[in-house]
């Protein structure tokens, strides 16, 4: 096992080792579907596997020192090709190609681009297929990695299907997605599915400790927030995120304790609701708190069970219990969570963030 040489902390280590073993035993399927929710390490494992497949010292998983490994690390390996959503404009796409890969290298669990208008187009895939049709140049095999595959346009999927039907010799194709159902059934059926489970809490905690300077208590909270996926974890460790948690709890308490008119007045002047980013942060907290309340409401009174083990915001256990009667008046918490999703999608459609947040709190108040 050589992973320690290149990365001290490897997500899905067991899965990666299994894939490596299959490769060394010549049993690795040539077309793989890496499926799992965002932030569980699909990108990391796909890249490490590509390095392993192309490494010139095959005795180890990958040496990290040969020309192949060095070029793979710089994303200029002639036998490793990437396909991911890029703008249609070719110049813009060229400018964003390397930064996307570097961004993924730096923050492997987060989105490399927030451009939702980019897709994997037919032109992108033609170039990718043309490269795959060449003999390998530096290594024995070629590897094609399709990332965010759910963002392939229909014509692109048809074209990919052709490659899957007649896979180029000496090549491996790794298709990564968190939405496998968006792929054509004919594509899914031609790929060997590798399911990525949620990351273990111990891994998430170690990752947080290694990469961010945050207090031990916050490590615990973020680990629970992450729920086995490190997607956009950078946002969860910001100071503003924890500050917003306090505001979110206050507003939630106000929503169940204050008359609606007072609640509206209080919210109107609240700077925590002044922009989309801040409101989105509050929504994340409200979601976690509503989920906690479901747990609290489900526990029978005076059982002596410590609810904090099951809570995301475990440090708020006493405060939840303090307002337990008030919160118990919230009917159907799961419906409120649905409502939160609705607010989130409205925000994406550019509604006034403050109005959306107030409207959510007022309807909580009416319950």
């Amino acid at each position: 096992m050589t992973t320690a040489k290149t990365q001290t902390l490897l997500p899905q280590a067991e899965l990666y080792e299994r894939l490596c073993r299959l490769f060394h035993e010549n049993r690795l399927p040539s077309s793989l579907l890496f499926a799992g929710k965002k932030g569980v390490g699909k990108w990391v494992v796909a890249n490490l596997l590509a390095k392993t497949i192309t490494c010139q010292n095959p005795a180890d998983n990958f040496c990290g020192e040969c020309a192949s490994c060095r070029q793979a690390a710089a994303f200029c390996h002639p036998d490793i090709y990437y396909l991911f959503p890029l703008p249609k404009d070719e110049d813009k796409a060229d400018k964003l190609y390397l930064p996307y890969l570097q961004q993924k290298q730096e923050r492997p669990f987060s989105d490399a681009s927030d451009d939702v208008t980019s897709f994997i187009t037919i032109d992108n895939i033609r170039k990718f297929q043309s490269n795959l049709s060449r003999h390998p140049s530096l290594s024995k095999y070629k590897v094609g990695i399709v990332y965010e595959a759910e963002r392939m346009l229909p014509a692109t999927m048809d074209s990919l299907l052709k490659t899957l039907e007649e896979p180029p010799r000496d090549s491996f194709l790794i298709v990564c997605t968190d939405q496998p159902r968006f792929l054509l059934a004919t594509i899914r059926s031609r790929l060997q599915r590798v399911s990525f489970p949620a990351l273990e809490s111990e891994f998430v905690a170690s990752y947080l400790k290694q990469n961010f300077e945050i207090p031990e208590k916050e490590v615990g909270i973020v680990t629970r927030f992450a729920a086995g996926a490190l997607y956009n974890v950078e946002q969860l460790v910001e100071k503003a995120f924890f500050e917003a948690r306090e505001t979110a709890f206050d507003l939630l308490t106000n929503a169940v304790t204050m008359p609606a008119s007072d609640l509206v007045v209080k919210c109107s002047g609240n700077t925590a609701l002044e922009n989309r980013e801040k409101v989105e942060r509050l929504l994340i907290h409200w979601q976690s708190m509503l989920r906690d309340l479901m747990v609290i409401n489900a526990l029978p009174l005076q059982t002596g069970i410590d609810p904090s083990q099951a809570l995301i915001n475990f440090d708020y256990a006493d405060r939840y219990l303090e307002h337990r009667d008030r919160f118990a008046s919230l009917q159907r918490v799961e419906q409120q969570i649905d409502k939160l999703e609705q607010v989130r999608s409205e925000l994406r459609r550019n509604v006034n963030p403050k109005m959306a947040a107030i409207s959510f709190l007022v309807q909580l108040n009416q319950h």
Partner: protein
């Protein structure tokens, strides 16, 4: 790294290697030329990951080293200089160019970020005559396909295993095949599909006093040496379609026509052909060839008659004028022979020589009733 070199040597070396620098690339390092000192020489290399070119020039090396330097800016600077000696020094990837009273500085990139190029082993090299290779490339490259959905057709099939060395290219509408005696490569290697861009580059660099081109066949790439230039290219994965199957063996009608007269006439008539299909109708009757084209967009019609030698039954066939002209351009003769069968089968176009080593095929277009 420190060396001095004459600007004219550097200029011609840069001209040679610039062909492999991609006009646009998603990987910035590919926009650089790699400079490396090797003994008393300076090595310049470029690559677009498919093709790479390396050239060596004499230089006065005072300190060994290597650096990647932005190719276009470097070429612009060298092109703008008069013939003089230039001293180049690299300190921490910063390149300083000094000449006369001038002092230019440009930021480079670490050499180890530059992709590793295929290694050239002179012991495995086989020399073949440059003029033979050049001719074979010229006669076939035009027929290769640009359609990326059929990668094998994007290349030229180079067959070296048999008694004849053969190059074949086709895009599915036309085909060009040339063969020559194979004394040096026979039995050594199998078939390879080579990108035409690489072969055209070899053809362009194998000029002047270069009489032989060295070829090294590796498992995954081909390396050509033309004088001080080394070109390596990845090969395309096969299989190549069985082209022999589409070459008709029993075309029993023979049309013989003056090449330049036919080319000029096709070119004129094609002006009024359909903009998409470029269809020109060949109406062949005894010793008369009538070319016609219509374009409904312009309400245009063009008809011309020219003499020919033809003794078969009357026949009407449509061809893409551009394909016919491409082929006629490659045939070195006064008269050409069209071997025909029916209006919907392929025509073979050759010179009048009975044992011609060069054959072109063009598929007909279906004529409207």
């Amino acid at each position: 790294m420190k060396f001095s070199v004459t600007t004219d040597k550097l200029r011609s070396a840069l001209t040679a290697v610039m062909s492999a620098v991609p006009a646009k690339s998603a990987l910035p390092i590919l926009g650089n030329v790699l400079l490396e000192t090797e003994g008393k020489s300076l090595k310049l290399s470029t690559t677009d990951l498919e093709i790479s070119i390396t050239t060596m020039i004499d230089a006065k090396v005072t300190k060994k080293g290597s650096v990647a330097i932005p190719a276009k800016k470097f070429q612009e600077i060298i092109d703008a200089l008069p013939q003089t000696d230039i001293e180049i020094e690299v300190i921490s990837n910063r390149i300083e160019m000094r000449f006369g009273t001038g002092d230019y500085k440009i930021a480079g990139m670490p050499a180890d970020e530059f992709p590793r190029l295929p290694e050239f082993n002179p012991a495995k090299e086989i020399k073949i005559p440059a003029d033979v290779l050049r001719r074979m490339i010229h006669k076939t490259a035009f027929s290769a396909s640009n359609d990326e959905t059929r990668p094998a057709l994007n290349g030229i099939l180079w067959q070296t295993s048999g008694e004849k060395m053969r190059m074949v290219a086709t895009d599915g509408h036309r085909l060009a095949k040339i063969e020559t005696d194979n004394t040096k490569l026979q039995g050594l290697y199998g078939d390879m599909i080579v990108p035409p861009r690489a072969l055209n580059l070899v053809s362009r660099l194998a000029v002047d006093d270069i009489t032989e081109v060295g070829v090294t066949f590796n498992e995954n790439n081909l390396i050509f040496t033309c004088g001080s230039n080394t070109i390596s290219t990845r090969v395309i994965e096969g299989p190549y379609p069985n082209y022999e199957q589409v070459i008709p063996k029993y075309n029993n009608k023979s049309l013989i026509v003056a090449k330049s007269l036919l080319a000029d006439t096709v070119r004129r008539v094609a002006i009024l052909s359909n903009a998409l299909t470029h269809q020109v109708k060949f109406s062949i009757s005894k010793n008369t060839l009538q070319l016609s084209a219509t374009n409904v967009d312009f309400g245009g019609e063009a008809v011309e008659k020219l003499p020919c030698q033809y003794d078969g039954e009357d026949i009407e066939i449509g061809y893409n004028a551009a394909y016919v002209l491409d082929i006629l351009k490659q045939l070195e003769c006064d008269e050409v022979r069209f071997s025909l069968s029916t209006a919907v089968s392929a025509a073979i176009i050759t010179t009048m020589e009975p044992a011609s080593d060069y054959l072109c095929l063009v598929m007909p277009l279906r004529l409207a009733d």
